[in-house]
Each structure stands twice: as C-alpha cells, then as structure tokens.
C-alpha cells in the first residue's frame, strides 16, 4: 500500500507511525475534513453573469475587478475541495483501507463553466486593450 503522491500527512509512511500516532492523525484528518466542507460548498454570488466587451479602459478595469473576485472565490472553493479529496485519501491510507482507486481531484461542470466564462471575459478585456 502506498501513500498518495499529494498528501497532507507529514510522515512519509504509515509504517513510521505507532498505532497511537496513526489514530491521532486520523482524528486530525477527520476534523479537518469536516471543517473544509463549508468552504468547498460555498456559493457566493457571481459578479460576472456573462462575459462583456469593455468599451473603454475604465470599463475594462470594472469587468476585470468583478472577474478577479469571482476567480478568487473559485480558487478558494477548488483548493478546499482538492484538499478535502486529498485528506480522504490520507485517512484511508492511515486506516489501511484500499484507496488505490481514489481518482485525482476533478472539477464539476459548474466550475468548468465558470472557468470558460472567466477566460472569455479576460480575452475580451485583453482584446479591448489591444493585446
């Protein structure tokens, strides 16, 4: 049994840990997994409803600012979700459960859709600035 390539466990192998240490670490992970849930499921209102073409540099700044906030929320949510996924794998590894089938973190359709909209908004901003 091998540890996931990306891990939140400081120790390189469960074999280096005593049973007591493994239990303590498993408890840490279970608590962390619960704490991450609100962050990974938060749904703040999107400021960019659809990509817009700026007519001036001022509008480019306005649309950039809105997209920046949306994208920062997206990074926050996806970081929490990926970490949650990693910790589930770590907990399974520490418990000695089979976790080889644990797929790498993947984004949902809504996130893919948001990324497409934000990319398109950035393209429109850069085009309006002559880039």
């Amino acid at each position: 049994m091998v540890r996931n390539e990306v891990s939140t466990v400081r120790s390189l192998s469960r074999a280096n840990l005593s049973e007591k240490q493994r239990e303590a670490l498993s408890d840490d992970l279970r608590q962390a997994i619960q704490l991450l849930v609100p962050l990974m499921t938060s749904e703040p209102e999107m400021l960019i409803d659809e990509p817009r073409t700026p007519c001036s540099r001022e509008e480019a700044v306005m649309y950039f600012g809105r997209a920046l906030v949306d994208f920062s929320h997206l990074i926050q949510r996806c970081t929490a979700a990926s970490l949650h996924h990693t910790m589930l794998g770590d907990e399974a590894y520490l418990s000695g459960e089979e976790h080889a089938g644990l797929a790498s973190f993947s984004m949902d359709d809504d996130t893919h859709s948001s990324i497409r909209a934000l990319s398109e908004q950035l393209r429109k901003i850069r085009t309006s600035l002559g880039n």
Partner: protein, 117 residues
C-alpha cells in the same frame, strides 16, 4: 491613461498575486465599504468623466476583496491543520486550467496597469 503610478510593485507573479500555498505571507483582512464600490461602479455606467484616481480606487477595492478571500482561506487552513500535517502546494492541488487562468489574470492586470509590455 495608465495606472502605473498606483502600482506598489513593479511586477507580480500569479503565485504572489493569488497567494499560492503554502502561504508564507498571508494577506491581512481589510474592511471594505460595499457602498463605495457600488458608487464608483455607478459612476462608470453613468457616462461621466472618470478620474484616474477613481479607476485606481476601484481596482484597489477589488484587490482588497481578493485578498480577503485568501485571508479567509488561510484562516480556515490554519484552523484545520495540526503539526502532524502539511498543506500541499497550490500547484499540486489545482488543475492546470485554473493555474493557467491565474497566469492570464496577472497578464491582464499588468496590461491594465501598463506593465504588460
């Protein structure tokens, strides 16, 4: 009409701009007045003459909002990790599409502030 005068740093990377993990220098939270943001954006849509300082202020407020989001993330991660755990790098946690988009945002930011050439 560039905003280079407003820039505090000559050039930032995506890792710095979006506070990639592990976060050595997390941002401090800032209180933002939503009415000020709304008032500035209203000015933009009212076809009035906008001063460079107002444009700079809008960008500054949006950046403070961004920083607050990463401050919240840092706080949550600090609360949920212990000394037996470590936080992986952002590059190992997020898919390439998001990392590439982060680079795109920084390029656009430099273009807007006349540092993109």
């Amino acid at each position: 009409m560039g905003l280079a005068w407003w820039m505090k740093k000559a050039e930032v990377s995506a890792e710095q701009y979006f506070f990639f993990l592990p976060m050595p220098s997390p941002p401090s939270p800032t209180v933002i007045n939503p009415q000020e943001l709304e008032a500035i954006e209203r000015e933009f849509t009212e076809d009035s003459v906008i001063s460079t300082s107002t444009v700079g202020r809008l960008l500054e407020l949006r950046e403070q909002q961004k920083n607050n989001i990463f401050s919240d993330l840092n706080l949550a991660l600090t609360q949920c990790t212990t000394k037996r755990m470590l936080i992986p790098k952002t590059e190992d946690l997020l898919p390439d599409e998001i990392l590439e988009l982060a680079e795109g945002f920084v390029k656009a930011f430099h273009l807007l502030t006349n540092n993109g050439d």
